[in-house]
Symmetry: C2
Subunit: 418 residues, 2 copies
């Protein structure tokens, strides 16, 4: 039996806790002596402990009842750990190669025990800043997105399963509201939380707040984010939620998971790759002009979308006679029609992806939470220049997204921004 009521663990009480939980202590070969415990939570919301024993290891993630980086002034339900655990298990079920295994979940303690992603795993964002090429990244992340999104949608599921899962994840409303605020609202109004490279981008931030066409588009996306229960999405799939080595890609931290639009996940990932691209000029130096690396990022953007498309359609074709209730086999029973509906589906998903991706870019430049890709550029002028180009592209994508029809056109648009 674990602890009877919630309390935040420290390194000492963590050991006591592990002793009471067989699924954890057994991972250490029941040898609790001489554990190495390291707190590594560099995120904003949780404690994260790496626990290494002589014959095994795991990670303990415990949610705090507030947003850690801001402090107790911004409370945030620790029930999010429950939704994170459910999402890890559900996504892990469909894509075990790219989601860490959950060993233990304790709802009272808001605590997850899961696989330790051993070195050389690092956060993808840090790899992108360092200029490391990951040859399997597009392959892996497209696999993750295709499998998790397809299998939790009505293309695979019955309405009965779907509505029951939707109802459960409605409970993760506080995390949804946080996204609504920081992605879809704050950047478009005066907010105490917003910040940007000032004074360089003062005019740009002001322009975002006064762009009627942009604000009309973001409203549509906000409603879609709240109202469209398309699939169990990760909800925060930026490059800081992915850990990588040259051979491995692992998606972590789905505490924002809920039934929402697929494009929010795909867009988050691609949008953050685009931010990485625009930050490269700020990391160029005499030794490395980053030109080759920028090409690799563009290729990865293109490959990620194209592979995602290909894998998703392959799953659809494979399961077209299955129990998914959106397209019944007795109706969509000819190849021409199957092709037509898939084309329609992906056109819609592509435009959602561009819109949500752009929204995620904008909020990282003029909203509360920025990205290390830009933050680590110490020269303000240089950083502002990178950020401004990313912002210009994002505004273009958000407002004109329906005019684009394939990822090649997006890469071309990225190249055109100078």
């Amino acid at each position: 039996m674990a602890f009877a009521e919630y309390r935040p663990l420290d390194e000492k009480s963590l050991v006591e806790y592990i002793k009471t939980v067989p699924s954890l202590s057994s991972k250490l070969g029941d040898n609790i002596d001489g554990l190495t415990i390291k707190e590594v939570g560099d995120g904003n919301l949780n404690f994260v402990y790496i626990v290494i024993g002589s014959s095994g290891s795991f990670v303990i993630k415990q949610a705090l009842p507030y947003i850690r980086c801001i402090g107790e002034s911004w409370p945030m339900t620790k029930e999010r750990a429950y939704f994170e655990a459910v999402a890890l298990k559900e996504h892990g079920r469909w894509c075990p190669d790219n989601v860490p295994e959950v060993y233990h979940f304790d709802r009272t303690m808001s605590l997850i025990g899961m696989r330790y992603l051993e070195p050389p795993h690092i956060i993808l964002r840090k790899g992108l800043i360092a200029g490391v090429e990951y040859p399997l990244l597009a392959e892996h992340i497209s696999e993750y997105m295709a499998k998790t999104l397809f299998h939790t949608s009505l293309l695979y599921r019955s309405t009965t399963e779907h509505k029951s899962a939707v109802a459960e994840f409605c409970g993760n409303v506080e995390l949804c509201r946080l996204t609504e605020q920081v992605v879809f609202s704050d950047p478009y109004k005066v907010s105490q939380y917003n910040r940007w490279t000032s004074p360089h981008l003062d005019h740009d931030a002001d322009a975002v707040r006064n762009d009627n066409a942009l604000k009309a588009e973001i409203a549509e996306l906000k409603s879609k984010f709240i109202e469209r229960t398309q699939a169990l999405i990760h909800g925060d799939l930026h490059t800081g939620s992915v850990m990588v080595t040259l051979e491995s890609t692992q998606v972590i931290d789905p505490e924002f998971a809920f039934y929402g639009p697929m494009g929010f996940d795909v867009g988050a990932f691609l949008g953050n790759l685009i931010l990485a691209y625009f930050s490269q000029d700020g990391h160029a130096d005499g030794k490395n002009d980053r030109k080759k690396y920028k090409e690799w990022i563009l290729r990865t953007i293109e490959d990620t979308w194209n592979l995602f498309h290909k894998k998703f359609i392959a799953l659809w074709d494979k399961h077209k006679d299955g129990s998914g209730e959106a397209y019944l086999p007795a109706i969509y029973n000819n190849p021409e029609l199957q092709h037509l509906v898939q084309k329609k589906y992906f056109e819609d998903l592509f435009h959602d992806t561009l819109g949500f991706g752009a929204a995620k870019m904008i909020r990282r430049i003029v909203g509360v939470a920025h990205v290390e890709d830009f933050e680590s550029i110490t020269d303000d002028t240089k950083r502002a220049s990178c950020e401004r180009r990313a912002l210009e592209l994002a505004k273009l994508l958000l407002k004109q997204r329906r005019k684009f029809h394939d990822i090649g056109e997006i890469v071309a648009a990225i190249r055109q921004i100078q």
Copy 2:
């Protein structure tokens, strides 16, 4: 205390039941002797009793655990009575003039006690078949739709309230699935339940099943029906769910209620008015060619949409600084932008309305449940001719809906079908 477990009531046990329920017996002045009880359920799903005493009256509606018109072979959860009661109360809260008051709800018995809509109230559909003009119909039904849909949407509500209500109504999944089947699936495939005026419409029914463009569009609408939690919709707002006199309009039977797309309600009502229009030639005779009445229906279609639009926008303007979370006042704070987002919102809602309205028309001609407007035309050839024209219009609307921009264009399209 009422009955301890579910049992279908007959006229005798109903009296026993009423005696145990103070909120019902008090409506009769606690005088249970000499009650007049009449079973009038002409619907497909329930028992409906009118109970009239010397000093009061009410209606008792009890759900049966199957679809009554088909029999016990098509089971259907009686829990739908719960969702009907919740929807009646919620819609009644926002539009008490057009929703019958609920006096009593018994979840165990799946039983609702509510206001008796006394004569000369009749089902609107019957009035339309008889050729009766209802001068206040457009005014009233637009009021009902604007108030119920606006106040249960994110234009009025917080995300927290919204997600909690969405989660609850996910429980009404069986009724949603029935709609999915009979509206969005069966008409587009071979199904034992489908029927049509045969052999006259054999080719037309076949054409529906083999129209790829139509089937691609219906798939999009089906997904939207399941996935888009825009507002608490009635879910079955045809002209058989409305009772009228010349002065009164009352919306009944929201057992299909759930959080879905607003256009499904608006489209259901307008689509059924269009069916009524096309049926009129079948009811014309030497005494009445119905030409004038057809014009009244067209005016009512136009007025209903335009008044709905006007009233909905007026509510939006009134509450634009309120707690609705879709369009925060700090962002959408200028008249030009407010106008722009309302225009976008209504363009989308108009296209949804046309699509869902068309889907509801098609299913009434080649699906399981037909409408009395056509069924009461005894001459097969005449009926088939009316139905074929309605079907042609519906196919046009479903496939081309994005090309229409105001209701006047729809009326013009209706006139063009001969």
